[in-house]
């Protein structure tokens, strides 16, 4: 698959503050890539650098093979950006807002009106197209801002905190729209967020950032393996097995540790492939198993573990 974004040792310094400090990553076509980090981690600055509205202090960035600091206009023709605040003209209507941004994006005059109507319909705003944006709810504004970012059908989308400040219902709506964009349209998406469940739901890969640096990068599975190379399994029995049964478990290949007592055991194994053998061994010894739960790590576990390590 084609590489859409390629970043090597990218730096941006503001006075004494290193907002982006030697970032290296790449994003493939059709991928949803998350930049995760607390406020001030450098996520927004990275989006600005990749769109050529800020020049880097060091390193290189290529978007569609172009250097954004030199070919910013050509890069921005192929990108759509959802900014952290909706950044809409509140005194204008939804139609006027989209016509404005559509015209600047170079949509031909004869196609602009239809494109605006189509996208407003897609986002369920067609009934309010002539209403001033100041009369919209937060969720509607965010949907309209997303429509603005997509008006020229860009192959690459930057979403900066897309659900920030939205109520759970509106946030869910926006997340569903984003998920649909990547699944249906195959758009490449760079999602900058500190909303971890959102990132877990939407992203194929993430980079966890702090103070302008990438602490770790990969898929949820990759990061889990990196941080917790061994797996824990929680086993619940119908009846507490005899101590000899649990004792014999310790000598099984791939089993590293067994803790707990009574009808609940916690077993540490080398990897997930060992789990069926553990179950087979226990049932072979006459134990009646009620539940087997390999412990899942969420992006939240990974994130906080990495950020704690950084501290």
């Amino acid at each position: 698959m084609e590489t859409i974004i390629e970043v090597n040792g990218l730096e941006r310094v503001f006075g004494q503050n290193r907002a982006v400090d030697g970032m290296t990553f790449h994003v493939k076509q059709g991928e949803v890539f998350g930049l995760l980090g607390p406020n001030g981690a450098g996520k927004t600055t990275t989006v600005r650098l990749l769109n050529g509205i800020l020049p880097p202090s060091g390193g290189t960035a290529r978007v569609f093979g172009l250097d954004p600091s030199i070919d910013g206009q050509r890069v921005r023709r192929q990108t759509g950006v959802l900014t952290e605040s909706p950044a809409l003209y509140e005194r204008l209507s939804a139609r006027e807002n989209l016509e404005f941004f559509g015209a600047l994006a170079g949509i031909p005059v004869e196609k602009l009106s239809q494109r605006v109507l189509d996208i407003l319909m897609f986002f369920g705003l067609q009934d309010r197209l002539e209403d001033k944006v100041e009369t919209y709810s937060k969720g509607m504004k965010q949907r309209l801002a997303l429509a603005r970012a997509l008006i020229h059908e860009p192959p690459l989308l930057f979403l900066d905190e897309p659900t920030s400040g939205l109520d759970p219902e509106a946030a869910q709506q926006v997340n569903e729209l984003i998920a649909g964009l990547s699944q249906r349209n195959g758009q490449t998406i760079l999602l900058a967020t500190h909303n971890l469940p959102e990132a877990q739901r939407l992203c194929d890969r993430v980079a966890v950032m702090n103070k302008g640096r990438i602490l770790a990068m990969g898929s949820l599975k990759d990061l889990t393996r990196k941080l917790w190379p061994v797996t824990w399994v929680d086993i619940t029995f119908w009846e507490a097995p005899a101590e000899t049964v649990t004792g014999s478990l310790k000598s099984q290949r791939g089993v590293m540790q067994v803790t707990g007592q009574g009808d609940a055991l916690q077993v540490q194994v080398e990897n997930e492939e060992v789990i069926p053998q553990v179950v087979q061994h226990l049932t072979g010894q006459g134990a009646s198993i009620l539940r087997v739960n390999p412990r899942d790590y969420t992006l939240e576990d990974i994130y906080f573990s990495l950020q704690a390590g950084e501290k």
Partner: protein
Amino acid sequence: MNWRSIWTIAKKDLKEVSQNKMAWGPGIVVPLVFAVFMPLVFIILPQMVPVEDVQRELGDLDAMLRAMPPALQALFEGKSLEQMFVLYMAGFMLAPLFLIMPLMFSTVIGSDSFVGERERKTMEALLYTPTSDMELFLGKVLAAVIPAIGLSWITYVVYIIVVNVTSYPLFGRIWFPLPTWWPLMLWMTPALAVLGISATVLISSRVRTFMEAYQMSASLVVLVLALVAGQVSGVLFLGIGTTLIIGTVIWLVDAALIYISVKNFKRSALVAKL
């Protein structure tokens, strides 16, 4: 250079300004005062008060007329007292005051367009569009200059009509505008509109709110007040030659300010202010 983008930005800004009462409020009140209220006072009043009172006024008027360049003094020859008073007030004294308008309009609209956009947090989305820095700059400058000049010219037209209609019983003919007004309207007014916006662009890089930008750029009105003082005291009379020279000086200052503004108008600088 993509002119469609430039016009799109200018049209959007004009639409936005038209929705901002704080921005267009002065655009209605000031022209009304200058073009309707003041001429009514200075033209109708002398026609209603006794001639002796006008005569009393003439003591000062005489001194002022003597301070005028001889070519302008000739305009007053053979005129009645009332005619001289109206000619002097409507034709000369109010002239420099009209120069406040292009300055005021361009600074109000420019402040709303450059700083207001930042204040309303809409600037970032604009910076992410595939426009060049120059297109953004020109779009915003046009959005301020076009209505500033347009509104000033409309005010002049209203003033010309009001002056001629109200003074017709006194003069019996259409006598206004005087030749001295043409360079004022066509040369100095656009120069001041551009001065207002170029100063606003520079100021906008140093302030954060619309009001700050407006107050700072509005201080340029001092320039116009100096011209008013010059006219009243007879030190600097706005004849054709003087107006052309002052206008040229302002255009040169405009050119310098625009050059500096264009050099400073960078996306990266605007982003840093967000």
